[in-house]
């Protein structure tokens, strides 16, 4: 049924009288993944260019934070580091002989466990009272809401958090403030909007005059949103469309927003490869200082560590994440950087733009994508 709907939307898009290329950015790795899983790029008209933006919390998670999580696992006695599975393979900037990821730390003897819910972090902490459980949280608003819920419900003394929460809209706002934005229309993230409400994205339309639509994660919802922004552009009627009304309600989930406000605080925060974006991070409020792994443990990053926080040499993730170049435009893409041995974070996560492009079969610039430079 949804599939029939998707076909209908596809037909409607194909029927649109597009005359020039349109670059549509999404800022949600889940969108990017659905696009790729459903093979939308190959199904859509060539004129439409789907551009992944800074939508992967794994890719933008600061290198220093991952390094810190690894060092806690390796060095703090009786520690257990838990993290969502996506984070376990992201590399940090150390020599290839050192421990480069949480997964390698696990092989080297650290107790690192992938979890699929904050509830599991609480359960593990309760079942191992003699250990210190450190929950390394990288995530956007959608993920920070359950974490806030977990905190508000009360957590055991031996559960600490290493928070790398991030807000999505400040990153998009920054992209739009560039002189030449790298896209023409925005697909806004559906689950972020489910929690925070669609109103957060109104600025794209109001302040910048860009077509925008909130999409869900099924092909039909994504295609509806793509159709919407294309029609907006063609018809010159720009508004914020909501193509995910099943769950994106006015004002989002007020309870979740209240819990985020009461447990977390907004801070200036570094995005990997991008730098600091003002007021874009979510950190524990001072009341939770006892549970803040940043305060409880020494900063393990030796000052001497070269390239702390920097992108690996040659890696163009920063510009990829900003949508300024496409993955294939990075000189390392497919050369020294592949999913097998990723150089930059964008090649690690299933949501990373480089990884997704690689998985879509795009191997070299010269082969299929001579036209892909979008700067």
């Amino acid at each position: 049924m949804a599939l029939d709907d998707a076909r209908q939307w596809l037909d409607k898009i194909r029927a649109l009288p597009l005359t020039s290329p349109v670059r549509i950015m999404n800022v949600c790795g889940g969108h990017e993944r659905s696009i790729s899983m459903a093979g939308l790029r190959s199904a859509l008209p060539d004129m439409i260019d789907l551009i992944p933006g800074p939508g992967c919390p794994v890719c933008v998670c600061p290198e220093e934070d991952i390094y810190q999580a690894i060092q806690i696992g390796l060095n703090e006695p009786d520690s257990i580091v838990v993290a969502f599975g996506d984070m376990l393979r992201v590399p940090v900037n150390v020599s290839s002989k050192s421990v480069r990821s949480l997964e390698q730390a696990k092989a080297a003897g650290a107790d690192i466990r992938p979890i699929a819910s904050p509830s599991e972090a609480v359960r593990i902490a309760k079942s191992e009272p003699g250990k210190t459980v450190v929950f390394f949280v990288a995530g956007f608003e959608t993920t920070c809401a359950p974490v806030a819920g977990m905190l508000a419900e009360g957590i055991p003394d031996n559960l600490l958090l290493l928070m790398s929460g991030r807000l999505t809209w400040p990153a998009v706002a920054m992209l739009l403030d560039y002189e030449t934005p790298s896209f023409d229309a925005l697909i806004a993230p559906g689950h972020v909007s489910t929690v925070m409400g669609p109103e957060e994205w109104q600025f794209v339309v109001d302040r910048h005059g860009f077509p925008a639509a909130i999409a869900g994660f099924t092909p039909d919802s994504l295609l509806a949103a793509i159709y919407s922004v294309l029609r907006q552009k063609l018809d010159g009627r720009i508004f914020l469309d909501n193509c995910y009304q099943q769950v994106v309600k006015p004002h989002g989930n007020p309870t979740a927003r209240r819990l985020i406000e009461s447990t977390l605080t907004i801070v200036d925060a570094p995005w990997r490869g991008i730098g600091i974006i003002p007021a874009s991070g979510l950190e524990l409020r001072a009341d939770y200082a006892q549970h803040n792994a940043r305060l409880r443990f020494p900063v393990h990053a030796e000052n001497a560590r070269k390239n702390a926080g920097a992108m690996p040499p040659g890696c163009d993730c920063a510009r990829v994440v900003l949508g300024r170049i496409k993955p294939v435009d990075c000189k390392l893409y497919g050369v020294s950087c592949t999913p097998r041995s990723p150089v930059g974070p964008c090649m690690v996560s299933d949501e990373g733009a480089c990884r997704i492009w690689w998985s879509s079969g795009i191997r070299t610039r010269s082969a299929e994508h001579e036209e892909t430079t979008c700067t």
Binding site: R33, G39, R41, A43, R89, Q104, A116
Partner: protein
Amino acid sequence: MITEHSFSDTYITLAHGNGGRFMRELIEHLFAKYLDNAWLDTRADAAAMPFDESDFELMITTDGFTVDPLEFPGGNIGSLAIHGTVNDLAVAGATPRYLSLNAFIEEGLEIAVLDRLIRSMAEACRECGVDIVAGDTKVLRRGQGGGVYFAVTGVGQRNRSINLGIDKIQTGDCILLSGTAGDHGCAVLLAREQFGLSGTLKSDAASVFPVTRALLDLPGLRFMRDPTRGGIATVAHEMASAVAGTVKLVETAIPINEQVKTVAEILGYDPYYLACEGRVMAVVGAGDAEEALKRMRGAGCSEAAIIGEVQDGRTQVILETALGGERILEELEDDPLPRIC
């Protein structure tokens, strides 16, 4: 010629045992490098070798079994060890005859559990018509190892006239799957009660000998394999490499249990990489594909389907999506991890 290979890792990780590329490279560049001989084929399910002058070849296969938990809906590590070994002989075209069993048992395992496992093992042997003719046990110091590991070697006989092999695959051949994909991997995952998930799904673990026997005299039969660790995507990759072409699978044609689809969605896994333990992937000349399908169904595989074909093109596995788009199924890099994204 054996070329030198330098491993990018210093330590063995779980990825070296998951059926994917890391494991293949470990086997090719370490085990096979040293152990190479005229009969060892690391890509084959069973090894054929001359032994006597009669009509049959002696077939030997071996597999190690580790499952967490030891018991799961539809089987346990005991029955699985028999089915897995028998299946490797069956898909190679052999009739399974004798098995050897090694049990590595962890200190602290409940004897009652072991009792259940070995009993299931014996039942599976009877059902498959095989005998365990040699065995050994070792007790391991308590670890986090999960209680018990089995290593089973199977010896079977194969008529010398049978001529199957991954190198027999040709462009234009059809690919069949004898049942739903990924049930075993998903059932085991559910049995772990990790991630707060539960379901009624059963493992597909079973002997595939009835299916392979039904296909064996089909003239167009090129190759059979049981898609275990790494699932159907991994077998598709092996086929693509062997033929140096494209294996195209059709999303809508692949039978997948609804519960498997749902679990995959919840955890962000891809069902094509989840293990089966009672399925056959068979490659058949296009002209014989419908007959092969009929025979599979006749052997009790009501959900058997033609799921794809072998094409000219780059060495790759392509999934034609429901929307008519295309997606590359990459070679499995690593064990799946639950995702939030």
